[in-house]
Symmetry: C2
Subunit: 142 residues, 2 copies
């Protein structure tokens, strides 16, 4: 049986999403922080540490925004319109971290290199991710 | 005032979305048609003509899937998991066709070249798109 003939995957496998907002210069960092402030005012998400040096599979400075599946429908279109020309990676978390970054991901703006080959690709390998713990208190209408 | 300091755009400007499923070989075309069948069984969308030659801004054969904003939340994650390694463009329709294809778009898989510079970029230029007229009758649980 070919891959195309198999049954499609179900989206209930997605337990959460991560958006990564990249900045490659001081000027891009300013824009990234403006976006961060807007997100904090509008969405129930977990804003991660601002990494001024590349970490994990990421080859460019960035911060992560973790959110539950129900936030995807609002935050993704908003980022489509408001990423301020920055590169943004949004990937689901299904327990297979390598595929989630390299195969299941979407990009807004120019895709960037990821060193994701070493990521675990099954729950047994430790592919699970931390639950989302929101740290924003949105008060602004989108 | 810098761009970053301006108020962000609101997603209510998005009247619909188009997904474009690209295929660059006979084998990719088979996968694209498998995805088309799966979509028809699962989502209320308007499946467009299968273009075996590049049309409009598209430089690779493809078909279009038009859908209303409420379908975005279900179809986009599903395509993240089930695009069968094909390149997929999803763009909003805000009336500014050029920006919608080049700036507001997201890509699943490798981004492809678009010849979108000639697209209108305002409603006055004819940037409006046709309303979505669904032509699927989904019967399968996702």
């Amino acid at each position: 049986m070919t891959r195309a003939a198999a049954a499609p995957a179900v989206t209930s496998a997605i337990t959460s999403y991560h958006a990564h907002i990249y900045f490659a210069s001081a000027e891009e960092r300013e824009r990234a922080l403006a976006i961060r402030g807007w997100i904090a005012e509008r969405f129930v998400v977990q804003l991660g540490t601002i990494h001024d040096k590349p970490v994990g599979p990421h080859t460019v400075p960035m911060y992560q925004v973790a959110f539950s599946p129900d936030v995807f429908a609002e935050l993704t279109p908003w980022l489509m319109l408001n990423r301020l020309r920055l590169s943004v990676l949004i990937h689901p978390n299904t327990g297979r971290a390598r595929d989630d970054h390299l195969v299941h991901a979407l990009w807004l703006g120019a895709p960037l290199l990821l060193n994701a080959d070493g990521l675990p690709n099954s729950l047994e390998d430790g592919g699970g991710v931390s639950p989302v713990v929101p740290n924003t208190t949105p008060a602004t209408r989108r």
